[in-house]
Symmetry: C2
Subunit: 370 residues, 2 copies
Amino acid sequence: MKRTNEGSGEQQLGANLLALRSHNTALVLDLLRTAGTEGISRLELAERTGLTPQAVSKITARLRADGLAAEAGHRASTGGKPRTVLRLVPEAGHAVGVHLDRDETRAVLVDLDGAVVARREAPLDLGAGAEAVLAGVAGLVGALRSEAAGGRPPLGVGVALPGPLDHRRGVLHRVTGFPEWDGFPLRDALADRLGVPVVVDKDTNAAALGLAVGGVGGSFAYLHLGTGLGAGLVIGGSVHRGPRTGAGEFGHQVVQLDGPPCGCGDRGCVEALCLGAVARGETEEAARVLGAGAANLVGLLDIDLVLLGGRTVEAEPEVFVRGVRGVLGARAERTGGVTVPVRLASGGTLGVASGAAQLVLAPVFGRGDA
Amino acid sequence: MKRTNEGSGEQQLGANLLALRSHNTALVLDLLRTAGTEGISRLELAERTGLTPQAVSKITARLRADGLAAEAGHRASTGGKPRTVLRLVPEAGHAVGVHLDRDETRAVLVDLDGAVVARREAPLDLGAGAEAVLAGVAGLVGALRSEAAGGRPPLGVGVALPGPLDHRRGVLHRVTGFPEWDGFPLRDALADRLGVPVVVDKDTNAAALGLAVGGVGGSFAYLHLGTGLGAGLVIGGSVHRGPRTGAGEFGHQVVQLDGPPCGCGDRGCVEALCLGAVARGETEEAARVLGAGAANLVGLLDIDLVLLGGRTVEAEPEVFVRGVRGVLGARAERTGGVTVPVRLASGGTLGVASGAAQLVLAPVFGRGDA
DNA sequence: CCCACTTTCGCAACGCTGTTGCCAAAGTGC
DNA sequence: GCACTTTGGCAACAGCGTTGCGAAAGTGGG
């Protein structure tokens, strides 16, 4: 029961009874969500949370009164009164996720379960200025909003985009090729315009959060290889962003001292080596380089799993998975440790957008940075 | 208010009133400890924790009744009743820290403040077998125990040693050169023998914890360059160990693909390159290599600070600090981000031992993985 | 079919948490 | 010397999870 305040200078906060209730409620909601359509009984909730059955009954009674949970049938009896199955009511709340890609905006409306209810796309031109971009996003959000049950406003809007940014303040930094966006307070500008809470994060973090919420447990790294190379790190179920939202700079990890120059000004970065090999058609070599970077990451953080995604990976998924798996397997053999599995990330083209929506929903389920 | 369970498969635990009290009490104790001899007033505690003054009064009253805190003078008045200053009573509890180095055992007795009250050393021979080593450690602990005020038993014993191990179970893995120690349940064996709780961890983690508790805030990496190269990572005030206590494998990070072979079986590891350069007398090159590894770490985790330690660093501290600082400075210049400071770690030869003692004390102050 | 048994789950009383309202204590400053 | 400010304890309180107990809803043997 400890607040995870990663930022330096942030104070550790005391907890009162309200915080206690939120915590336990979020825990129960998360278990309900994870159980999905199958549902989960009160006693199972009690076992999983460590709370007494009576406490769970009180919490779930509140959730049912609020319309967030409902009874859904019964389990088979084991000799006594059969357990009542509870499940989340997905349509009790919605969130919008927006993915600002290079030249396209993808927006999705998801329910509490994280299922995509509706989607919209529109072209994106960051050079057209803040006003035009904001209007475009607002238009997509408005269109999606009307599709939510009862037309109720969404709980919030999550926005994911590449460049470096400050997740806490929702301010952009150095958007590649568009210096006019430097320091733009995207979160506040959008929140003022839409009248709902807005959360901003890097695309890789959103994708990783989406995967974590989608069922990938423990600690893992999502490596995204597209026109660039970045990573989203999930440690103990929460996205690790670092104090300045700078974590996950995987691509400019140096794996070849004094190697070929990279666009960032350094030499021998994984991104340069990897994309260089891809350009030469040497996909296997690219996979090996990516594997070396992944092995460094595994050693430093002791993660459970590596997930690969991005357009370049999706072009030849087998080669990349096999290549990275090979490097990590050899490493495990040397160290005598466990072999870290490597898999292709699910999610497809909407992975980032639906992950962005989870930026809003995650705090409800106790997975946020509160 | 969320439990940080890094391990996969561990359940998120619900919180009851007892947990609430422990949490807030630990928070207050931590602030008292941080305030040191200067002390801190009730109202300051209330501001820092976010609790109401009355709640702080109740908590501190309990602490005073338990002998853990005491009143210590008054602040100057600002126009009304002057604030009463509270401080931790350091001698209210003690812990023992044991550092099993290659050929020497260093043990310290520290008080609640973390100050070293007494110390003992003895030669260490891991080849002499478990019984002999355990007897040696028990002898040191017994000697230190008699020095504690009133001869009361310590709160526990923290043991730090190099090799890979399982912090959760307190079991050793593959101690270099001594295969007979593989899988030895050091924690339980010692706890049975001493009759007090025992915590086991890697030396680098203990050192990092000691630094974190000693006042280094935020997220930082402690890089230890001695006969090997390892790292202790502190993220948001807590040591990051990973699910298998494998995190911090900094030395076998590859920074030179297909580079010179390393003892681990891989090629181009930082450790091999760095120590190779040191052996050739090229300290500046060693520092540059170390800096490259540190830069990779900074990029991946977005940490606030890099601390250097270990015998090899201490031989030429200026060269290493300057070299690593140079690489990180150049990186900050390229990315436009903040320059991550590089400093020499304080602590000296007892850094690991006193950090090991903090393995026991940290949970009391809410910094543990309890 | 009935009855004993098991299991689930809600109601009521309870202990304990932090919170609120109020007042005594202990200073400053005109 | 008196008005004022600030600190901090006492007492009453709301709300949390817990405990004790009983109703509800099944199974299974006679």
